[in-house]
C-alpha cells in the first residue's frame, strides 16, 4: 500500500509522536507526579498530619470562602456582559471585549499592586479607611478583590463566542410568543448556555482557588487569617517543611486534575472549547 500524499511516513510519524510525548512528559507529567511523590515521601501518616494542622485547615477554609464569593460575582458579570455583547448591536463593542480581557494581560503581581495602591496604608483611600477602622489590604476583602480582578474575564470569555454562535433567533421567537424578558432568559437562554456557563465557572474556580501572585501581594501572609492554600504552600516550603508544602500542594493538584477531567468531558460531550488566553 503506497503512502497517502498528505500524511507523514510511519517513521516521521513515530518520531513526531515520540518528540511530543517526551516533551510533554518532561515538562508536564513529571512535575505533576513530583507533587504527589514528594507529598507521600514519608508515607500517608505525615501527609495526613500535614493537612490536619489548624493553619492548613484555616487556609483551606479561606480558599473555599474566597472562591465562593468571587466565582458567583464573575458568573453574574459574565452572563450580563455576554447578554449585552451578543444580543445587541452597538458601536464600541470590540473595545468593550478588549477591556474585559484586560486582566489576562496584567501580571498577577501588578494585579495585587493596584489594590495596594488604592486601599493600602499609603494608598488613595488608605487614610479614609484607617479613620473608619476598615481593613481591605492584608485582610479578606483585599484577597477577594484581587481574585475577582484576576478571574474577571473567565466566564464572559467562554460565553461570548458560544452565544454569538447561537444567535438570537431563540430569544426573538420566545418574545414573539409573548414571553417576558426574564422568562426568555430563564427558559430559553440559560438552558442553551448552561454547559458553556459551567465550563467557564470551572476554569474561573480553578484560577480563583489557585491564584498566587496577586493574592500574595494583598494578603499580608497572616497565618490562620489571610493565608490561602497557595500562600500556605509557600510558607511551608520556605520553612523547609517539604512534606507539608507538597501535601497542601497535592490537594491543589487534585483540584486541577478534577478541573481538567470535567473540562475534557464538557469539551467532548458538548463540543465546547477554551480560548487560548487564560
Amino acid at each position: 500500500m503506497s503512502q497517502q500524499p498528505t500524511s507523514e511516513s510511519p517513521l516521521a510519524r513515530a518520531a513526531l509522536i515520540t518528540v511530543a510525548l517526551t516533551f510533554l512528559g518532561f515538562f508536564l507529567l513529571l512535575p505533576l507526579l513530583a507533587v504527589f511523590s514528594e507529598a507521600l515521601r514519608q508515607g500517608a501518616g505525615p501527609f495526613l498530619d500535614a493537612l490536619h494542622t489548624p493553619d492548613a485547615l484555616a487556609a483551606i477554609r479561606l480558599t473555599l470562602i474566597i472562591a465562593a464569593i468571587s466565582v458567583p460575582l464573575n458568573m453574574v458579570f459574565g452572563v450580563a456582559a455576554s447578554w449585552a455583547i451578543t444580543k445587541f448591536q452597538f458601536p464600541g463593542k470590540a473595545l468593550l471585549i478588549t477591556l474585559i480581557d484586560l486582566p489576562f494581560s496584567v501580571s498577577p503581581v501588578v494585579s495585587g499592586l493596584i489594590f495596594v495602591l488604592l486601599f493600602g496604608a499609603n494608598g488613595l483611600f488608605g487614610a479614609w479607611l484607617a479613620e473608619h477602622d476598615l481593613k481591605i489590604i492584608f485582610a479578606v476583602p483585599g484577597i477577594v478583590l484581587a481574585t475577582v480582578f484576576i478571574t474577571f474575564p473567565f466566564v464572559a470569555r467562554e460565553l461570548i463566542p458560544l452565544m454569538l454562535e447561537q444567535g438570537k433567533d431563540d430569544e426573538e421567537a420566545a418574545i414573539s410568543l409573548g414571553a417576558t424578558g426574564w422568562q426568555t432568559f430563564w427558559h430559553v437562554t440559560l438552558p442553551n448556555i448552561r454547559w458553556g456557563l459551567l465550563y467557564g465557572v470551572l476554569l474561573c474556580n480553578a484560577r480563583a482557588m489557585g491564584e498566587f501572585g496577586a493574592v500574595s501581594v494583598v494578603s499580608g501572609h497572616i497565618r490562620g487569617e489571610t493565608n490561602t492554600m497557595p500562600l500556605h504552600v509557600e510558607i511551608l516550603y520556605n520553612e523547609y517543611d517539604f512534606v507539608g508544602a507538597f501535601a497542601v500542594a497535592s490537594l491543589l493538584a487534585l483540584l486541577a486534575l478534577v478541573t481538567l477531567v470535567a473540562k475534557t468531558v464538557l469539551e467532548w460531550r458538548f463540543g465546547l472549547h477554551a480560548g487560548a488566553r487564560h
Binding site: P5, R13, L16, I17, V19, A20, F23, L28, L29, L30, P31, L32, A34, V35, E38, A80, A81, W83, K87, F88, F90, P91, L96, L99, L102, S105, V106, S107, P108, V109, V110, L113, I114, V116, L117, V148, F152, E171, I175, S176, T184, A206, G210, E211, F212, G213, S216, M229, P230, L231, V233, A249, L252, L255, A256, L260, T264, H273, A274, A276
Partner: protein, 280 residues
C-alpha cells in the same frame, strides 16, 4: 430606554440591554478600569526624573533583561515544541490521545505555586532530573535556565491551543492541491502549511511571552531570587512593596504593563492584517 441610546445602538426586540450593559460597564469600571488607572495616576505623580530613576535603575534593568529574555527563550522553545504537539494532536490518532490533550491544559489548571515547588523539586541537584544534569555541570535550579523551564511550563498551552484550531481548520485539501502541483512534502510544509499557521503560531508565542514576563508563582521558587542575577521583574515589584518603596514598585509595574500591551497590540495588528488579507 431614552431616545438617544436607542439611536446609539440598533433597535432590538430583546429586552435587558440597559440593565446588562449598565451592570457590565459599572462592574468593569469598578473592578478593572479604576484600579488599573490608579497605577498610571500614581506613576504620573512621580514626575519624569523620578520615574526614570526608579523605573530604569540598574537593578530594574537587570530584572527586565532577565524577565524579557527568559520569556522570549521559553516562548521560542514553546513555539517549536508546541507546534509539534499541536501537529501530533491534530493529525495523528494514537491511544491515550484524549489524555494527552487534556494534559496540555495542566498549566492553566495547576496553581502556579504548586508548579513552582514541583519544578524546583525536579531540578535541584538531588531531584529526579537535576541528579542527571549535576554531573554534566548543568545547573538549572536557581539559574536563568530554571526560570526558562518554569516559563516553558506556563506558556506551552498558549502555543498549542492557538495553533491547534488553525491547523485543524486548514484541511487536507490545500495540501493535496500542493501535491497535485508537484510540491514535495517538505515544500508543502514550508510554503503552504507554515505560512498559513504562522499568524497563529506568532499569537501563541506572544501570549506565552506576555504571560511569561508577568509570571510570578511558578518562577520564584526555582529562580533563587538573587538581585541582579536571578531576580525577575515581578519579584522586584514585590520586594519594593515589602520595603514600602511604592514609587519603585509602581514605575516597574508600569514599564512591564506597557511592554505587555505593546506586544499584545502588535499581535492584534498582525492578526488584523492577516484577516484582512484572507478576507475573513
Amino acid at each position: 430606554m431614552s431616545a438617544r441610546s436607542t439611536r446609539w445602538r440598533q433597535p432590538s426586540v430583546l429586552p435587558g440591554f440597559g440593565l446588562s450593559f449598565g451592570f457590565t460597564l459599572a462592574w468593569l469600571t469598578l473592578i478593572v478600569l479604576i484600579p488599573l488607572a490608579t497605577i498610571f495616576l500614581k506613576a504620573a505623580g512621580l514626575g519624569w526624573s523620578e520615574f526614570l530613576a526608579v523605573g530604569f535603575s540598574p537593578r530594574a534593568m537587570a530584572a527586565y533583561q532577565l524577565s524579557f529574555g527568559t520569556a522570549a527563550a521559553a516562548g521560542l522553545v514553546n513555539a517549536v515544541f508546541g507546534l509539534i504537539v499541536a501537529w501530533v494532536l491534530v493529525r495523528f490518532d494514537f491511544t491515550g490521545k484524549q489524555v494527552v490533550s487534556a494534559l496540555v491544559d495542566l498549566p492553566f489548571a495547576l496553581p502556579t505555586a504548586v508548579a513552582g515547588i514541583a519544578l524546583t523539586a525536579l531540578y535541584t541537584p538531588e531531584g529526579w532530573i537535576g541528579q542527571f544534569l549535576e554531573p554534566l555541570g548543568i545547573k538549572v535550579a536557581f539559574t536563568w535556565i530554571g526560570i526558562t523551564i518554569a516559563l516553558v511550563f506556563i506558556g506551552l498551552p498558549f502555543v498549542v491551543r492557538s495553533v491547534e484550531p488553525v491547523l485543524a481548520d486548514l484541511g487536507r485539501e490545500v495540501e493535496e492541491a500542493a501535491a497535485t502541483l508537484g510540491a514535495t512534502r517538505w515544500q508543502t510544509f514550508t510554503r503552504v502549511i507554515f505560512p498559513a499557521i504562522g499568524p497563529a503560531l506568532l499569537t501563541g508565542f506572544a501570549l506565552a511571552f506576555a504571560r511569561g514576563v508577568g509570571e510570578y508563582g511558578s518562577v520564584i521558587f526555582i529562580s533563587g531570587n538573587m538581585p541582579g542575577r536571578t531576580e525577575i521583574a515581578p519579584l522586584l515589584i514585590v520586594t519594593q512593596l515589602e520595603q514600602y518603596a511604592y514609587a519603585g514598585a509602581t514605575a516597574i509595574a508600569v514599564v512591564m504593563m506597557l511592554a505587555s500591551f505593546a506586544v499584545l497590540l502588535l499581535i492584534n495588528l498582525i492578526q488584523a492584517a492577516s484577516r484582512w488579507r484572507m478576507g475573513a
